[in-house]
């Protein structure tokens, strides 16, 4: 078989850190080749080497059998390599065509000839079934459509080899299905694709072969048809991975969180949480299942003191914390893994060590009489970094430069280490790979087993089903039902989340729910 791209024994160092160590990847013509690895394993580094953004310290690259030296992206473009970035590089208020021709504007006597370009874009769009309107303005079209513009951009520039960097990260399920169809169409038209991902399901669905890298090392290449998700996962993380989280039964005790008739409004004065009642007890995980935007954010911000409460009460450990300041809530025994780790969870320009002290910096032993002891912070940080397997060069490294999974582990480490009675975890695994997800889930369960209360908010049904002991379904600011994972199915949950009441025709579920409600 002919290889269109061969990356042989690639080595890339950053200072003392080896990001890629002897990695070999061979792309056959007309295949979808998945590049699998955990966050921070070195996938993006490898692709940036191929795209000319980094120069490797060792190894060689061949394109169509010829050794090449790709020192900048223009050379990659000329060789027919195109990259569809995870974060789109589009000018929001330009049209599709304008974005596509940006940098290579065709001109007629010094005037940009957009008409011809638009025709070409239209033709390409039809050829590959992309269905993109050349004149649409970027900010008006959906994320999935924007991604297609990125694909068109590479095709317009004559790419034969397309690199997709985590293409499904920001897509809806429907868009993912469409994307997979597009990729297959591209292959049918003779293109070759490298797909960077950590999602096993996608790989199984779409790829022909998989190259796995782990901690910068090339682990090997397997044919997709001859493998299964379990094998891939263990290749990726280097050990056996459990997909369904193992957990024993819950033994709930006293109530920790008690919310009564809570009403929370958004900045426009519209009620986002409506008369909500909820309780969480020691030794149980309560999952809040719901579609994004049904009041989850407002509920959690109200509990943690970040948002004003319109009416109702919130008790933590029988103490009224309604309308308390965030610090008071924290000190009442609440740990909070925020939904947006970059906005709320971390000060990205602080070292990771500083971030680990974000909730405790003002207390002994770190601070005494207003004097802060950074030595103590570093000691603590080192401990948490070790306990929670945060992969970092050390407490001094800026939080910004850690991978998403490691940032999240640091946050979880910080919150769990304070040993809170109630741990609120909002979308704790968003954007993380299987290894990290498994780790985080087991930590949540460990908290529960230590007799703590855990409130989990998630948009992922599997997560809610796997981790929770009870599931409270939120719809339009109200808890519409409380069920247990054992007595319900994903389908029923889906219906509940969409606002359909299942109680009427599903006697069993109703009973379960009622019981839990009363307690």
């Amino acid at each position: 078989m002919e290889y269109v791209v061969e990356m042989l024994n690639i080595r890339k160092e950053f200072g003392n850190f080896v990001a890629n160590d002897n990695i070999t990847l061979q792309l056959e013509k007309g295949e979808i080749h998945a590049l699998l690895g955990e966050n921070g394993a070195g996938k993006s580094t490898l692709m940036n080497v191929l795209f000319g953004l980094y120069q490797p310290e060792g190894g060689e690259i061949r394109v169509r059998g010829k050794k090449v030296d790709i020192t900048n992206p223009n050379i990659a473009n000329d060789l027919g390599i195109g990259m569809v970035h995870q974060h789109f590089m589009l000018v929001e208020n330009f049209s599709v065509t304008e974005n596509i021709i940006l940098g290579t504007e065709p001109t007629k006597m010094g005037v940009t000839n957009k008409k011809d370009a638009a025709k070409k874009v239209q033709a390409l769009s039809e050829q590959y079934g992309l269905n993109v309107d050349p004149y649409a303005i970027i900010e008006d079209i959906s994320v999935g459509m924007q991604q297609r513009v990125e694909i068109l951009k590479t095709l317009y520039r004559g790419a034969e080899i397309l690199i997709f960097d985590e293409p499904t990260a920001s897509l809806t399920p429907q868009e993912i299905i469409e994307l997979i169809q597009i990729m297959k169409r591209l292959i049918a038209e003779g293109k070759s694709i490298i797909l960077i991902t950590h999602k096993l399901k996608e790989i199984m669905d779409v790829s022909d072969r998989v190259t796995v890298i782990r901690k910068g090392q090339g682990i090997g290449t397997v044919v997709t048809a001859e493998t299964n998700p379990n094998e891939l996962a263990s290749l990726m993380v280097g050990r056996q991975v459990e997909f369904t989280t193992v957990k024993g039964p819950a033994f709930p005790k006293d109530e920790v969180l008690d919310i009564k008739n809570l009403v929370v409004e958004d900045y426009r004065g519209l009620a986002k949480v409506k008369n909500l009642n909820l309780n969480v007890r020691k030794g149980e995980i309560v999952g809040i299942a719901g579609i994004d935007g049904n009041g989850q954010t407002e509920l959690l911000e109200a509990i943690t003191g970040l948002r004003k409460v319109k009416s109702g009460t919130i008790f933590i450990n029988e103490k009224d914390v309604t309308g308390s300041k965030p610090r008071k809530v924290t000190e009442a025994g609440v740990g909070h893994i925020p939904q947006d780790r970059h906005k709320h969870g971390l000060v990205l320009d602080f070292p990771i060590g500083h971030n680990i002290a974000l909730q405790t910096y003002y207390k002994k032993p770190i601070s005494k009489n207003g004097i802060i002891d950074y030595e103590k912070i570093n000691e603590k940080a080192k401990q948490i970094i070790a306990d929670f397997d945060v992969r970092t060069q050390g407490p001094q490294e800026l939080a910004r430069s850690l991978s998403g999974g490691n940032q999240q582990k640091a946050i979880i480490g910080r919150e769990v280490d304070r040993d809170p009675d109630l741990l609120i975890a909002a979308l704790p695994t968003r954007g993380l790979d299987v290894g990290a997800i498994e780790f985080i889930h087991s930590r949540l369960i460990e908290q529960r087993d230590n007799g703590k209360a855990v409130l989990l908010i998630s948009f992922e049904l599997d997560e809610v089903m796997n981790v929770s002991d009870r599931i409270a379904v939120i719809h339009d600011g109200e808890i519409v039902d409380i069920v247990t994972p054992e007595s319900t199915t994903e389908q029923e949950l889906g219906l509940l989340m969409a606002g359909h009441h299942v109680r009427d025709n599903k006697e069993g579920v109703k009973k379960e729910g009622e019981d839990q409600h009363v307690e």
Partner: protein
């Protein structure tokens, strides 16, 4: 590895490039750059007098730079250093001449008055920012004008319709006979020591205190700070107050050291605005501010000797000085070029 070398190399090359371009400007305008730079050099280091005066000029720049840098670290752009300096100047001078007290009480009192006045002038924009999200840049700029004209009016009142107050009592003066004898009657005064102490104070606040941790966190990320239970509003106000106090102290340097009086002004002193450049040149760190203030103060003061000793018109001199500072500030471009050159070399190999 070669990081340290680049760190030394970059400012060095920047200064040399600035000097070269400045020389070209002088040549083109028909003046001799060698005598121009000789005059500049002598204007800064020529004799003990000029060294004393150069240090005297650096003093308020140190404090103005600290003021801007401190606010920057908390994520605030204090353009009001100029106004805070002016009110500090007036407050120090007023306390200096309104009462006569033993020096041990009088001098600290005058200095504190300046710090308090500057702090008050910083408090207002801090409060408006914290409570009503009014952008501090707007408020501080406006506060500059208020400071200018309010002090002018107060000076008039205090000096019975005059445009200049009497001299302060010597018990409130920072003037130092020791320094004056040492530097042939330059106006170098004890304020330089106070300014250096303040550099240390800022370093301690930022690097050693819980408050510093909070200020930096708020400066980087309001949301995360709020999430972590910090009182963001309090921190914003506090940052502006401390910044204003530094600026007020810069005013005290003028009131109790350089001039020993306050006169009504037709325009801004410029020290506060230059403080922005001083802080940015120093990357908003306390030690960096020493570097920035030294550069600014030396060039500013040494420049006076260029018309004096080399006959170069002040306008050309100002352009030359601006060019030098400009090149130092664009050090990162030189860093980039150095990197490129290094890469090229590597590729060639």
């Amino acid at each position: 590895m070669s990081n340290r070398v680049t760190n030394i190399l970059v400012p060095l090359i920047s200064v040399i490039l600035g000097l070269i371009v400045g020389a070209i400007i002088m040549l083109v305008s028909g003046y001799n750059p060698i005598s121009g730079y000789t005059a500049l050099w002598n204007g800064i280091f020529g004799d003990l007098y000029t060294i004393g005066e150069t240090l005297r000029q650096i003093t308020p720049y140190l404090l103005a730079g600290l003021a801007v840098a401190f606010a920057f670290r908390a994520g605030l752009f204090n353009i009001g250093v100029e106004g805070q300096l002016i009110v500090g100047w007036f407050a120090a001078a007023y306390v200096g001449l309104a009462v006569e007290l033993p020096k041990i009480i009088h001098l600290p009192l005058a200095i504190l008055a300046a710090a308090a006045a500057g702090a008050l002038w910083g408090f207002v924009p801090g409060l408006l920012k914290a409570k009503f999200q009014v952008h501090e840049v707007i408020v501080t700029i406006m506060m500059n004008y208020i400071a200018l004209h309010v002090t002018n009016a107060l000076i008039k009142t205090v000096s019975d319709g005059g445009d200049r107050t009497d001299k302060i009592f010597s018990s409130a003066s920072l003037r130092s006979e020791f320094f004056q004898n040492l530097t042939e009657f330059s106006r170098l005064h004890y304020g330089i020591l106070l300014a250096l102490i303040m550099v240390a104070v800022m370093w301690i606040i930022l690097e050693k205190t819980t408050l510093g941790y909070e200020l930096k966190a708020v400066g980087f990320n309001h949301n995360a700070s709020k999430y972590a239970g910090m009182n963001v509003n309090k921190n914003i106000i506090l940052a502006m107050v401390i910044s204003g106090a530094f600026a007020g102290l810069a005013g005290a340097m003028e009131a109790l050291g350089t001039f020993e009086y306050v006169s009504s002004k037709g325009g801004f002193t410029g020290i506060g605005f230059d403080g922005i450049a001083v802080a940015l040149l120093g990357m908003n760190t306390p030690l960096g501010v020493i570097f920035g203030a030294t550069l600014f103060g030396s060039l500013k003061y040494g420049a006076l000797n260029m018309p004096n000793a080399a006959g170069i018109p002040l306008e050309i001199v100002e352009i030359v000085i601006a060019v030098i500072i400009f090149f130092v500030a664009s050090g990162y471009i030189i860093r980039l070029l150095l990197l490129r050159a290094a890469n090229k070399k590597k590729e060639a190999k």
